[in-house]
Symmetry: C2
Subunit: 344 residues, 2 copies
């Protein structure tokens, strides 16, 4: 069973998907570290039959789909939260609103190397992974049923990863997620008030004083946000205004890849074992944008958000939406700036 | 350092509190189960000196504060996220808004018995714990700097508890938390549209079909919400309209205590080791309510929310506000209904 349901009081969407419970790791979620033994890992080269047939792959010439020879491989998720079947029309019954669970759920296997996580990838390969994200976003947006394509990455059991092998996830949703809607609404309000992109204004303010800056190079800024909800939370964005990640050219993607590698190396050095969530925030599908959304997209600005998982959110966070962050973003940024990260 | 900061894009408040990092458990949060050895536990009878001096206690006659003889004891939190000192006036610097970390953070030690969690308490004692919550809410609201009093409970390491000894937490906040603001706004909109309380309407719809009901007795309903974000999520509310938990009489509190005990016993039986967050949602302080809030409070309805922690929220949840729940609320409710819970 897969469907989206809307909270009748606060209008928050949730995916109810009983398929997800079949994941082997779900049984002891949060209780132990993920296995880092490649034996039995479904994402190894040579184990292509353990995943659903591939959607896309970067491969050596003259190798066939679902055989060895790939460098990056995209497959449907084996336990998909959503499936691309049917019509996502809302159904109402009194206070209860549901949408059939129509959408996509894909896995990006980032490398055949079980142990080579993003921070250890050569820059050209890391850039290629970002290009694959871009490509899948464009492909999924072509389906009018998809309102938003969400790219995210969980690393480490305490960040919710069920498998150690380096991978990201892509979810094509029939609704715009809450957090994105809030960012769109907030940035639209700022743009109407000031005529400026709030992310561009934020970048200027962060650069006026250096205290929140983690890394700056190639027109890309990495910083700890002023109101970080997680200790060492870090955002990465292009300094020049750009609303949609799909519009990023190769040169910019290479700069983003470099900043991402630097940030993850610094996190690892500062925090030890790297357990984190990463998420890409970008524009929704054109068909899904709200009425008073300016066609020029001057108000929104895509970015990456990285949340190291050192704290365990509890009653205050889940029950009230109030996060308690035990590290000031200024101290976190100073610590991260002090760490040298050599990138080829 | 303690302050509240407002996200410049989505206007979400976060508490930045470096005191919290000093908690012994924070060092390995999420990595191991909490110690259940009473030796060294600061909440034992006889260890009163290990906590700050008590604010309130239910005690045997002729025993003195901060000595043995108590049955329920409220103390300031040893690692407070907020402190009741100074003026919580907002300070603005460009896009950055902060409020000094003025507020209260208290611990309710629910029993001298290290092992007796809520579900194992006799009903009269459980009722008394709820009365202590009520009393602390009223006491904290008397300070005009407090906008909202949040009562919550974390049980089990994977729910963020740092100590095993049965306790709840009370946080007096200088702002209304996001989730409460959303509920106030959603319920106010429903009331303006229909003239009814959305929680009362919800109760009616849940009772029309039994499939979401977990337990019903004494004018109290326990049910799995239609758009539950956690598997086995359960809410408890009085069936008769009541906006504010502070207005609940002794008879109603006894009914709530009974429902709470039944629900927690059922959760324990259904899910094994009980790890959960519980939160009380009630009205803000009178001074803090929004402009168009009806003085009669017909639109809001206090309730308890309980989140068993079986899944590990990850990139999708934190990065986009989209929860994936692998259990339908109907199946969870059916499972919980099928479990017999004998309460004295």
């Amino acid at each position: 069973m897969r469907e989206l349901r809307k909270d009748p009081i606060i209008f928050r969407w949730v995916i109810i998907s009983t398929e997800r419970a079949k994941r082997p790791a779900e049984k002891h979620a949060g209780r132990e570290e993920e296995a880092d033994d490649p034996a039995g890992c479904p994402f190894e080269e040579g184990s292509e039959a353990s995943t659903p047939p591939e959607i896309y792959a970067l491969r050596k010439p003259a190798t066939s789909p679902d055989t060895p020879g790939w460098r990056i491989r995209v497959t449907p998720n084996k336990y998909p939260a959503l499936l691309m079947e049917g019509d996502p029309a809302a159904q109402q019954q009194g206070l209860f609103t549901r949408i059939p669970g129509v959408g996509a759920h894909e896995t990006v296997i980032e490398t055949p190397d079980h142990f080579r996580h993003l921070e250890a990838q050569p820059l050209p390969h890391l850039t290629r992974i970002l290009e694959v994200f871009q490509q899948r976003i464009c492909a999924l947006r072509a389906d009018p049923r998809i309102a938003y394509v969400l790219v995210f990455r969980n690393q480490g059991r305490s960040a919710g990863a069920s498998l150690h092998h380096p991978h990201s996830q892509i979810v094509g949703l029939p609704v715009i997620p809450t957090r994105i809607e809030e960012e769109l609404a907030g940035s639209l309000a700022h743009w109407k008030r000031t005529g400026e992109c709030v992310f561009c204004d934020l970048t200027k303010q962060v650069l006026e004083k250096d205290e929140l800056v983690v890394h700056r190079d190639d027109g890309v800024l990495a910083f700890c946000p002023y109101a970080s909800i997680f200790p060492y939370e870090t955002w990465i964005l292009p300094e020049a205004h750009q609303a949609d990640f799909a519009d990023a050219g190769n040169e910019l993607l290479a700069g983003i890849a470099r900043a991402l590698k630097v940030v993850l190396m610094k996190h690892r050095e500062a925090l030890g074992k790297l357990s984190y969530n990463m998420v890409l925030h970008t524009l929704p599908s054109t068909d899904a944008v709200v009425d008073d959304f300016p066609a020029s997209h001057q108000h929104y600005h895509w970015h990456l958000e990285i949340y190291p998982r050192l704290t365990q959110p509890a009653g205050c966070e889940w029950g009230a939406g109030i996060h308690i962050n035990p590290k000031t973003p200024e101290e976190a940024a100073m610590h991260l700036r002090s760490i040298k990260a050599e990138v080829d």
